[in-house]
């Protein structure tokens, strides 16, 4: 379009002057920028503020988005213009005039003289607030992102999981709430199904959730015994088992404080259960150990001669006496001047008899066959060194001897094939093997002699206590008192023998003997278990120089392996018989 722009200015003498400009353009642009057809400065005038264009026979005004003008005093963003209309913009007045011939538009511009050129800045975007950056917009965007990933999506997935609806694993969900990694085992079993443990929102993980899988784990104290105390319910699993922590292998709160909270003052709240106070692991904070020992009590059983009961006795170490009924001297066996190993003739080692079990704590049970028989043969006739008495079956012993002598006196070829003769031991009788009577009577006489000898002078009696009842029946006469060893002096506790096999520079037997005074023990009743003083030489409950730190749970188990065990321990007071082991029938002949 061809436009005539007539600018009215006041001349120096106050007379209005006209400045005409011809504009030939597709449309008439208005704004503060230098490239506008009509450049107007002033507050609120954008760089590209508005355009006037020909729409058919009429003129049309269109402001840029967000901008406006005053048309005949009214705020407008778009309008159709007619001759005589006045557009006001920051005090500038543009009047649409009758176009002279040759022009399609004529505009009279009366500029606002009050406006100086300093507002020219509005022609440009010179402030960050004029860009897309906006504090409000960005704040809303941030809030939206946080709400979406922090609340909305996790809640959706939480609900979907509860309704058992499948959710693809890549979908961002409530694992975004995860405050840390699960223990690897839990991670493998549970994965990202938070609701496995967190059953309800705003509810702590319930013990029942743990027990869904951990069915065989026993509580610290049995309900019946808990009822004897004034203590409330046992703590939540999560009191000690803290999940979502790093390192990923951490699962147990090993601090002593939780234990000491109750066990430090057992006089408060423990009610009928009597226990020593424990405040840590040091001589002044931990009571002396009490060993669980077996005590044997012989008694008269109705109709069968003797019976034998085993009882568990809990005793302080300095008063503890082992009652295994075995005659045995550790000192003798460890003395190289008296005992050498069969085979290589070297002094005996602890490990020759005591073999550690795979658990590293217990030792294989001592048996005659495994430990003793290698050196201690059960021969009875030097003339027949290949014949041995059966062990552990006294009745068989009597029968064997009777059989042996019966044959010896009745078989004409007996003895001819005797292999080797053993040297007679000084002071020991040798059975006179000549008899004038009937062979059977002679045999029985010799057998009786040998039986008496075995049970009272040599043989069985070397290791066993034998009771001679003097009854006529040879099968009932000798009662061998059975032997039993305590399997574990501290059944509710842990001790790792394996890790103690090397103690500083001590290894092998030296390591064993540093705690167990076997070289001084002449009797099997000696309990060679060291007391707490020995442990505290190397261990303490607090980190210190030359001390290995131990916590309560290093030795004690919170969850009993057998629930009855802790119950049993708790009910007994010192040196009181508590448990009757399965009745051991005396080996009646």
């Amino acid at each position: 379009m061809d436009a005539l722009l007539r600018e009215l200015r006041e001349g120096p003498d106050g007379i209005a002057e006209y400045y005409d400009t011809e504009i030939s353009s597709k449309e008439l642009t208005i704004g503060s920028s230098a490239d506008r057809n009509i450049q107007l400065l002033g507050r609120g005038i954008a760089a590209e503020h508005a355009v006037i264009r020909q729409a058919g026979a009429q003129l049309e005004l269109e402001c840029r988005r967000g901008e406006y003008v005053r048309l005949n005093g009214k705020k407008k963003a778009t309008a159709r213009l007619s001759i005589g209309d006045v557009i006001e913009l920051a005090g500038h007045r543009l009047r649409i005039a009758q176009p002279p011939p040759g022009f399609s538009v004529a505009i009279e511009l009366q500029p606002n003289d009050q406006i100086d050129a300093s507002t020219f800045e509005s022609a440009f975007r010179t402030d960050l607030s004029q860009t897309w950056l906006g504090k409000r917009t960005m704040a809303w965007a941030g809030v939206a992102v946080v709400m979406l990933f922090g609340l909305i999506l996790p809640l959706m997935v939480y609900k979907a999981h509860r309704a058992d609806n499948p959710v693809p694993s890549w979908f961002p969900g409530d694992e975004f709430w995860n405050s840390g990694p699960l223990h690897q085992v839990h991670q493998q079993a549970i994965g990202d199904r938070c609701e496995t443990c967190h059953e309800k929102l705003f509810q702590r993980v319930q013990d029942s959730a743990c027990e869904t899988c951990h069915r065989t784990t026993h509580d610290h104290i049995m309900p019946a015994r808990l009822a004897l105390t004034e203590l409330g319910p046992t703590p939540r699993c999560a009191t000690c088992h803290r999940e979502h922590n790093e390192p990923q292998t951490f699962l147990v709160n090993r601090s002593d404080s939780s234990c000491i909270d109750c066990h430090g003052k057992p006089q408060h709240g423990f009610g009928e259960i009597k226990m020593d106070p424990v405040n840590g692991f040091a001589l002044d904070r931990h009571p002396e150990f009490k060993a669980h020992l077996l005590a044997s009590v012989a008694g008269q059983a109705a109709g069968r001669g003797f019976s034998y009961d085993w009882k568990t006795v809990v005793a302080e170490l300095d008063k503890a006496v082992e009652q295994s009924n075995l005659k045995f001297s550790h000192r003798q066996h460890l003395d190289p001047n008296r005992v050498l190993r069969r085979g290589d003739s070297k002094p005996m080692n602890c490990a020759d008899c005591h073999r550690l079990e795979p658990d590293g704590e217990h030792f294989e049970p001592i048996t005659q066959e495994k430990q003793c028989a290698q050196c201690h043969e059960l021969t009875f006739d030097p003339g027949a060194p290949d014949r041995q008495l059966p062990h552990g079956r006294p009745r068989e012993v009597v029968l064997t001897l009777q059989d042996y002598f019966t044959r010896k006196f009745s078989d004409p070829n007996f003895g001819r094939v005797a292999t080797r003769e053993r040297r007679r031991l000084p002071g020991q009788d040798r059975e006179e093997e000549t008899c004038d009577g009937e062979p059977f009577d002679c045999a029985m006489r010799s057998a009786k002699k040998e039986i008496e000898s075995q049970f009272t002078r040599r043989g069985c009696v070397g290791c066993h206590a034998v009771i001679d009842t003097k009854v006529a029946n040879v099968f009932d006469r000798f009662q061998v008192v059975p032997i039993r060893f305590a399997r574990d002096y501290f059944p509710a506790n842990r001790f790792d023998h394996r890790s103690h096999q090397i103690q500083g520079k001590l290894t092998g037997d030296d390591a064993c003997l540093s705690c167990h005074a076997a070289k001084k023990s002449t009797d099997s009743s000696d309990l060679m278990v060291p007391g707490i003083a020995k442990c505290t030489e190397c261990h303490g409950d607090k980190a210190a120089a030359e001390r290995v730190t131990v916590q309560c749970v290093s030795c004690h188990e919170y969850h009993p392996r057998q629930p009855s065990l802790l119950d049993a321990i708790g009910t007994q007071t010192r040196n009181r018989e508590t448990e009757t082991a399965p009745r051991a029938e005396l080996a009646g002949l």
């Binding site: 490239d35 050129a117 507002t119 897309w132 405050s179 840390g180 709160n253």
Partner: protein, 290 residues
């Protein structure tokens, strides 16, 4: 010297406050014994978390306090000084609260948002300390509006003089004025990108970065000026264009310095709002899945 006062307000009183807070937090942190690894779930972790959350809320309140001109609750200067020092201490408090356990989760997300806020604050502090001097030096004591007024006058005069020159010179000068860019988008403001063009002869518009090309174009016409009047016009035009170049440089630098002075707030404030929401969710979610 606002920054001096900001950091040394009352003998850097809040510096000592924040150092005290840091020391107390560290002591609290190391008392997390062997029971479990340090984390936000121990009682020390809860204390550190509570202190951190209260600090965040209080630090946010600066935005409200500085708009309450009638408030007598401390001076804004004192608040800002404390804001800077205690905000810096917050990094230590929150890091110790986290026990350095980080992961792809909401809790670390909140922590990262907090770090963005504090680091943007550090940047803001740096610009507030150094840029005002650069700005006033660039403007030589004047205001930006004066520079624009000068530019407008130079535009007008240059156009007037150019209209008396040969048509190609007039077109070149007119187009260089019309196609001069200043500011613009975020990048253009912060890095003074100059997208100016001018029309040389009958060809397409060519780049006119820093107005140098149009000056060279007009300058090249000067030896070929046939008449004395034409040469005088061209000379006058060159003077105007060179003045215009100097003013434009100064305005561009002013826009750039101002942009950097303000840009951090566009992160500091919105991320603070997002942080507040994340903080609330962090606390709620901790108890969602207790």
């Amino acid at each position: 010297m606002i920054h001096r006062n900001l950091l040394s307000y009352r003998g850097a009183r809040y510096l000592w406050w924040s150092l005290g807070l840091i020391v107390a937090s560290c002591i609290l942190y190391v008392t997390q014994g062997d029971a479990q690894p340090p984390n936000g779930g121990t009682w020390q972790g809860y204390v550190l978390g509570t202190v951190g959350a209260l600090l965040i809320v209080w630090l946010t309140l600066l935005g409200i306090r500085k708009r309450r001109y009638s408030s007598t609750m401390g001076t804004v200067q004192g608040w800002t000084s404390a804001h800077v020092y205690l905000g810096s201490a917050l990094i230590v408090v929150a890091t110790l609260h986290s026990g350095l356990q980080i992961g792809w989760n909401l809790h670390t997300f909140a922590y990262v948002l907090m770090c963005v806020v504090i680091l943007s604050g550090f940047f803001g502090l740096y610009t507030y300390m150094s840029y005002p001097q650069l700005i006033s030096k660039n403007r030589e004591g004047g205001a930006r509006a004066e520079l624009f007024a000068e530019l407008f006058e130079l535009d007008r005069n240059a156009r007037a003089v150019a209209s008396r020159c040969a048509p190609d010179v007039a077109i070149a000068v007119d187009s260089s004025i019309e196609r001069t860019t200043l500011g613009g988008g975020i990048y253009s403001q912060l890095f003074s990108r100059d997208d100016s063009y001018f029309v040389r002869g009958a060809g397409k518009p060519v780049r006119n970065t820093d107005q140098q090309q149009v000056i060279d174009f007009v300058g090249a016409r000067l030896p070929r000026a046939a008449k004395g009047a034409e040469a005088a016009n061209l000379q006058q035009l060159i003077v105007l264009l060179c003045r215009r170049q100097a003013v434009l440089r100064r305005i561009r630098r002013d826009i750039r310095l101002y942009g950097w002075l303000k840009i951090w707030l566009y992160f500091h404030v919105p991320v603070t709002i997002a942080l507040l929401v994340a903080l609330v969710l962090h606390i709620i979610v901790t108890f969602f899945y207790w």
